[in-house]
């Protein structure tokens, strides 16, 4: 048997279903891989060896009993540490939650368990999902398997790196401004942000409630679609969850894989003209457009004039919501408590706890958000940003009257060396220039590897209308069929 860690999730599921491999041995192989490489990659904050082995054995027992298994039963998966996992440490990569073991599963994790996937552990990320490089993790950064001296993207760098390092065939991320797609792009993996409300936020430790979206990550478009179909769908515990059936993303991915895009209209955003982007990234993007055209797609340029305001609007809305969402971390009920010596007042203990527990970037955003919501500033900042959000939504809506999907590079640059963008927050924020508009609109988008620039992966982003997630899978799979997949050098 070939090394199962090199297989796709669909292949592994097939082996488990047919009995050619047991879930237990598949899981053991991945745990061995983690043991072999994760000291260099640091994709995981916590590996749940015992839980994984038990879950795998349960799948094997069910199979032996002749029970029907789901399409991903027995497939190992890595989960971003921002989703609650019952009894398994969940920290959001923050010191303030060090050692916290949630008493409940997030809806996404609940569905993963029900589907028979095997959770290997929790992956590294920027603290509270605030960042684009995992350099803001309180537990040290994750290293990009393509070049261990470079960032794996963020905030979901751990999940993407785990895929690229063959530590897991599937992973879960969350995308608030690009935290699934940008790590996918810079690690040569696939990452999809579903329609906002298409996947449940219940149990997702909130960064920005109106933007946060859990989503699937994998090494192939089909695997990503399979995982998408397992975690998506209405959840009554999340009021913003959409009570509609999930589009058939798996069928769309399989249709796209046939390589026929006849009649599909792609829109290139004229405002994303490559200014500030690396030439190698733009070159790979243009070559991909040519490849898609050869598959029958029609390409037109569309203008989205308000996209230029997306970044500033995002950096008011997200920190504003974060300043309120993170207020609950006060040392009273769970997590870190600092300074409680029996003498200090409650206010002092709360303040010392937050001072000690939050990292610099989290504090920066709490302060920005607190300021933006303050009376006297609300209208000029938060209120104005909401208006921009409405305008961006209109840009998307009018674009989708002319085209089926919008396309762009996922991020302006390939994986950058550690420390190269931490000095100036704005340089870091530019990573999400192309991904943020989608979050403000609420639609779905996917990043698919499309080439290399100076030996490092470049991502191609496909944005679709809300609840038309299937469209991006079709185009993404077609692109994958044309350009292939990208494997990093051996670790």
């Amino acid at each position: 048997m070939t090394d199962v860690t090199s297989l796709t999730a669909a292949q592994i599921a097939g082996l488990v279903a047919s009995g050619e491999a047991s879930a237990a041995e598949v899981t053991r192989a991945h745990l061995d891989r983690i043991a072999a490489v994760d000291d260099r990659v640091h994709a995981f904050l916590h590996v749940d060896t015992q839980g994984a082995v038990q879950a795998a054995e349960a799948v094997d027992r069910r199979r032996a009993a002749g029970e029907e298994l789901g399409p991903l039963a027995g497939v190992p998966i890595a989960v971003k540490d921002v989703l609650t996992t019952r009894g398994v440490p969940t920290t959001a990569a923050s010191k303030i939650l060090e050692g916290w073991r949630p008493p409940y599963d997030s809806t996404v994790v609940e569905r993963l368990r029900a589907a028979g996937t095997v959770m290997l552990g929790k992956t590294n990320m920027d603290e509270f999902a605030m960042g684009s490089s995992t350099e803001y993790s309180a537990y040290g950064p994750t290293n990009n398997p393509w070049d261990l001296g470079r960032i794996p993207g963020g905030s979901g760098g751990g999940s993407a790196a785990a895929l690229a390092a063959y530590e897991a065939p599937l992973a879960i991320g969350t995308d608030t401004g690009g935290s699934i797609r940008q790590p996918g792009a810079v690690t040569g993996t696939v990452g999809a942000k579903p329609t906002y409300g298409g996947t449940s936020r219940y149990g997702l430790i909130a960064f920005s409630s109106s933007l946060d979206t859990p989503g699937p990550c994998a090494r192939t478009v089909e695997d990503t679609a399979l995982l998408h179909s397992v975690i998506a769908g209405h959840d009554p515990r999340d009021s913003t969850s959409i009570p509609q059936p999930v589009p058939d993303v798996v069928a769309a991915a399989r249709l796209g894989a046939t390589g026929d895009l006849t009649g599909v209209r792609l829109g290139i955003v004229s405002e994303f003209n490559g200014e500030g982007a690396e030439p190698g990234v733009m070159a790979a993007f243009r070559e991909s457009i040519e490849a898609l055209t050869k598959l029958g797609a029609e390409v037109v340029e569309v203008s989205c004039p308000n996209f230029q305001y997306a970044l500033p609007a995002y950096y008011l809305i997200a920190p504003s919501e974060a300043s309120s969402n993170l207020a609950r971390f006060d040392g009273v009920r769970y997590g870190l408590r600092a300074g409680d010596d029996g003498q200090r007042s409650l206010e002092e203990v709360m303040s010392m706890t937050r001072e000690a527990g939050f990292g610099a970037e989290v504090k920066r955003r709490i302060i920005i958000g607190t300021y933006a919501l303050s009376s006297g500033y609300y209208d000029a900042y938060y209120g104005q940003a909401q208006k921009v959000r409405t305008l961006i939504t209109r840009d998307f809506e009018s674009a989708f009257e002319r085209v089926d999907v919008l396309v762009s590079p996922t991020t302006p640059f390939v994986a950058f060396p550690f420390g190269s963008r931490t000095a100036d927050p704005y340089q870091m924020y530019l990573s999400d220039l192309y991904t943020i508009p989608t979050n403000l609109y609420g639609g779905p988008a996917i990043s698919v590897p499309c080439g290399l620039s100076e030996g490092l992966p470049v991502g191609f982003q496909i944005m679709a209308p809300t609840m038309a997630d299937d469209r991006m899978y079709r185009v993404g799979a077609a692109l994958e069929s044309a350009v292939g997949t990208f494997t990093p050098p051996a670790l």
């Binding site: 949630p102 009021s239 300043s323 207020a327 009273v332 009920r333 919501l373 303050s374």
Partner: protein, 497 residues
């Protein structure tokens, strides 16, 4: 702090015109909390009615309770409000340990119900109180400070938080400012809260128990010189009974008048009503004005009550207290003023239930407004908490009507009932209070009285029937009051005719 002389209430209201406003919080009686499925029962062991949502565990999300939204709309409709076609929850951000999220999910500039009114009767006059808004929010937990002498945070060694109450649906009802009511301000305030309580009770949306905190009241008061602009208002919290509402307004009017008389100015501040002294004291002063940084709650979708549903709720509203009182006044045959004293005593439902249990309107009224009202007053209790049920009162009056006891004996029976000795008939039997109706025994007592008072007997024989009273008294004394006075009188006249 400088001291100043306080004027009398009459002096204060002769010089200044008060303007009042009331903010009332009502805990809804829904089975589950506002944003989670936890039960809402009062008095459970601390932190047994909690879950990830109401403890604000990381990742937990709220889901709005439809029953609470429905109850709020019904309250709005009963208060003649317009119901918003579209509105949102908002986050009110501030740090407090009994508020698990460190923000309260409330409503800000988009309340569910706006612009209504409620009419109340004071001294036979109708006063219309404008309703600014009715909105829905969630309650906080409760903090208990232990180890200190005072039970307050200062000096306590530990602070314990009970989150059972956190997330219970709370409706806030805010009046518009009420000017032009002069010296009647305290009574108007009390009448408003009483009316509101009765409306909420008739809607069956809350148990409206002020003493348990399910109905809580803040009173705003300001004074101005006649014709001048309204003065600076203070907000008095901790007003936990109808009587306290009246006392709080009265004492705040006197305090502010004294301060203004002395040339001082009123500080816009939160004050706390002191149940023991009846006055108000300044609350803990905040160093800076709180900026709640309100913004629309992104975890909840907007509320857009279907107009057809609202119309249905409106059509299904119960008979409201004011309408009901007019009907009962008619049925009971009482004057407007009498009806008002029944209302003021909190006796409408009690009398109604007593009549339903078989008593006459006059009989029911007599007990609830008489002996029982007196006892409630003495003990400072609500009439409904005084210890007798409508069924017991009906039974008591039934014994009187059947001639088994007279009014004086009935009061002794009532005493037994209130002391927990059982229902009236049982108390009567146990205490041996039944009227002596056996004419043989009575005749002997009458004959004894006639023999002992020959002069009086002679007068009666001479036709001076009025003199019989003295002999009745003697017989009653001899039977220790257990005889029926009319029977005794008839017997005496019969013996001496």
């Amino acid at each position: 702090m400088t001291t100043f002389a306080l004027p009398s209430y009459d002096e204060a209201t002769s010089r200044y015109e008060p303007v009042i406003g009331l903010e009332t919080h009502v805990e809804l009686g829904t089975n589950t909390k506002m944003f989670c499925g936890c039960p809402t029962e009062f008095g459970a062991e601390p932190n047994t009615q909690v879950c990830p949502v109401c403890l604000a565990l990381p990742g937990a999300l709220p889901v709005a309770n439809r029953a609470a939204i429905e109850a709020t709309i019904r309250i709005g409709l009963a208060l003649n409000c317009s119901i918003a076609e579209w509105c949102r929850f908002a986050r009110k951000n501030y740090f407090y340990p009994d508020m698990p999220k460190n923000f309260q999910t409330s409503q800000y500039d988009e309340p569910l119900c706006v612009d209504g009114y409620v009419d109340v009767e004071v001294d036979g006059e109708t006063v219309r109180i404008g309703i600014e808004r009715v909105h829905l929010e969630e309650d906080t937990g409760k903090t208990l400070h232990v180890g200190g002498a005072t039970g307050r945070i200062h000096g306590a060694t530990e602070s314990l938080v009970d989150y059972n109450r956190a997330g219970i649906p709370l409706v806030e009802i805010v009046t518009k400012p009420v000017p032009g009511i002069g010296a009647k301000a305290p009574e108007v305030a009390k009448a408003y809260v009483a009316e509101l309580r009765d409306i909420l009770r008739s809607l069956n949306v809350s148990d409206v128990r002020m003493e348990q905190g399910s109905l809580r009241c803040d009173v705003n008061t300001s004074l101005n010189l006649p014709g001048a602009e309204w003065g600076t208002r203070t907000e008095t919290k901790n007003v936990n009974s109808l009587r306290s509402v009246e006392r709080a307004v009265r004492s705040e009017i006197i305090r502010q008048a004294g301060l203004l008389d002395a040339g001082g100015s009123i500080l816009q501040e939160t004050r706390h009503f002191q149940e023991d002294t009846g006055d108000t004291r300044p609350g803990r002063s905040k160093e800076t004005a709180t900026d709640y940084r309100y913004f629309p709650e992104p975890d909840l979708v907007p509320m857009a009550p279907d107009p057809a549903w609202v119309a249905e709720l409106k059509a299904a509203l119960p008979e409201l207290p004011r309408v009901k009182r007019a009907r009962l006044r008619e049925e009971w045959g009482v004057s407007e003023l009498d009806m008002q004293s029944i209302v003021n005593a909190g006796a409408v439902e009690l009398i109604e239930q007593t009549i339903a249990a078989g008593a006459s309107a006059a009989g029911a009224r007599k007990w609830w407004l008489g002996e029982l009202a007196r006892r409630a007053n003495e003990s400072g209790q609500e009439l409904s908490m005084v210890g007798a049920t409508p069924a017991q009162v009906a039974e008591l009056q039934g014994l009187v009507d059947a001639g088994k006891i007279n009014d004086k004996l009935a009061r002794s029976v009532l005493e037994g009932v209130l002391a927990g000795e059982g229902d009236p008939a049982a108390v009567m039997a146990a205490r041996g209070l039944e009227v002596v109706s056996d004419t043989g025994a009575l005749t002997a007592a009458v004959d004894d009285a006639i023999a002992a008072n020959p002069d009086i007997a002679a007068k009666i024989r001479d036709g001076k029937v009025a003199a019989a009273g003295a002999l009745v008294g003697a017989v009653m004394k001899a039977t220790r009051g257990q005889a029926d006075a009319k029977t005794v009188r008839d017997l005496i006249l019969e013996r001496l005719s």
